[in-house]
Symmetry: C2
Amino acid sequence: MNRQDDYGAVVAWVEGLEQGCGPLAGFTFAAKDIFDVAGLPTAAGNPDFAERWGLPTQDAWAVAALKRAGARLVAKTHTHELAYGMTGLNPHFGTPQNPRVPGGIPGGSSSGSAVAVAAGLVPVALGSDTAGSVRIPASFCGVYAYRPTHGAIPTQGVVPLAPSYDTVGLLAADPALMERFARVLLSEALPVVGFERAVVMSDALELSTPEVQRAVEQVAQRLRALGIATLEKRLGLLEAARETQRVLQGAEAWGFHQEWLEAQQPRLGEDVRRLLEMASRLTPGEIGRALSEQVRLRAEMGAWLSPSTLVLLPATPSPAPMVEELQDPEQALAFRWRTLGLTCYASLLGAPVVSVPVVQPGAKPVGVQLVGPWGSDMGLLHLARKAFG
Amino acid sequence: MNRQDDYGAVVAWVEGLEQGCGPLAGFTFAAKDIFDVAGLPTAAGNPDFAERWGLPTQDAWAVAALKRAGARLVAKTHTHELAYGMTGLNPHFGTPQNPRVPGGIPGGSSSGSAVAVAAGLVPVALGSDTAGSVRIPASFCGVYAYRPTHGAIPTQGVVPLAPSYDTVGLLAADPALMERFARVLLSEALPVVGFERAVVMSDALELSTPEVQRAVEQVAQRLRALGIATLEKRLGLLEAARETQRVLQGAEAWGFHQEWLEAQQPRLGEDVRRLLEMASRLTPGEIGRALSEQVRLRAEMGAWLSPSTLVLLPATPSPAPMVEELQDPEQALAFRWRTLGLTCYASLLGAPVVSVPVVQPGAKPVGVQLVGPWGSDMGLLHLARKAFG
């Protein structure tokens, strides 16, 4: 095993057991440092969190499932603090370096997992995705990502951010391997549905740079070559959706951390501190209206996803920005807001996503999201393998 | 048509059109006064609400759908104020009288709809159900009720209470007719699933009086006679579920009414005023934790509802209490809390329910809920017709 962590992705190496047997035998994986591993602290990117959380006595469900299937856990990887951020910049533990974009941010919150995969340390890594946390670093680091149907993979033993949106996701170098790992993780056997149509969300394209627009077109071409019809449509709900997710995710994150923050006054990075402070000032009326709005949005946004239709939109509005551009918390929060506009569609719906990396000659990588209806996980993974594997 | 409203169920008679044609031709219906009817005010049980809401220029979706199918709207019926209450007592417009239990409360919030059906004014009436508002008055008045899968019947043109739980429901004298009306209202054709097992929720029985327990056993017997196996199980989550619904429904109700209440200071009955005041004092942390708890509860409670399994529990912990017992707002809120313990199971899940009335010799009527998995609406309605029609 290559234990040379040139890009600062790894929190801790894990002593591997002997080779297991099962469908994942022979493969190694890493897990974001919000997944419990028995006997190792779970820091969640914060210097005081491990103490509050307590030393895990058992593995997170997903870690245990992959091990049982024969895969070998070799490392725990860095995360944006408390998994509550999209840049991957971490003032306490250092920021993993993007192997594909020198000086570029890794993206977050599953920063170390994306970097570990992009750097070739592991072929697959566990991440989490609440509002884009596997899709964003995958886009910036040029790897594949999978966010499951909400609830389809147990989150037991994973530090929560906002359970209404939290999912256990994957980052992978190869779509076939990602499919193989996903099959092990899905608690229920899901059918492989086929797709006949892909809707390209035009308002999402308008939020993105020309190179990102070209990447989406490139993916659309590949789908057409497989006989999938593509058409452009305007959703017109992304503004409302990201505001709704901002409020509800904030309330849940604050709800989970409130007691610890108030009682222990732990160290917090400036960006995370601001997000939690904003959440602590939400009023019951604001949250109540966001809940009602979510019902409307889910009905309207979900209507696009008929059983044989997927939705295509960029994972991020641009390739990886430079680290210097996002050091300022103000800039980091503005970046968050822009990016949330593209990731909120699937997050708010709880719909599954496969994000595929597109690398154009001379350009930085960028990810394109394929969003399918609930439970179409295996269909999306299968399609990604056929189209891009 | 019988226009003699001996029990005070009707807000306003509606001038009927000529007989229509379609699957509901020849049937009349009433609609709770939170459903818009073009040209008539929507008072929602509050003396100042109609002005705020504005005079409807079109029928609510459900009213229009029933009319299109040939049914004739003949009356708008009384509701608990703002549909936010379970007694049906209304200090502004008067309380409909329970035709089956002299001096008993009608139950709410769809009080007038249940009374209109029980009194034989109409065979079917539209109600709404957020936390039991068709099931509770149906139980007390001895009629059938149907709460659909959340989202399966459009709520457009209905005054919201808490859209995350709001549904358009039915009250009916006969399960075959209820099934016929439901088929028209369901926006999507749902398959008629069969049931093999019924789980009797034992902790729900313990919250109920002996006569209610006997009613559940009577329904279980009828199901066994149809070849459905019954077994008792303890859920152990009803306390947590009702607290979660209390918080989240409160936040949504407050979110919807806040601006009006603060700007206009409308008249409000004491029980509704207290509920809204409590909701206005919820903190973002409380609401956030309730959101997270809801995810856990939905996963655990939903696990009982496999495709061929339904859950059996009482609709109310007792038959109709007397009006005098619940005049005091303190008593009304305690009654609400007890009753919510039985209705919250399906409401929090968004699962469909058919409530069937059981009348034992010499006893007051009481309803028993048949709760099925999402989308099993037609299966439940079909079963109710077969077993009790």
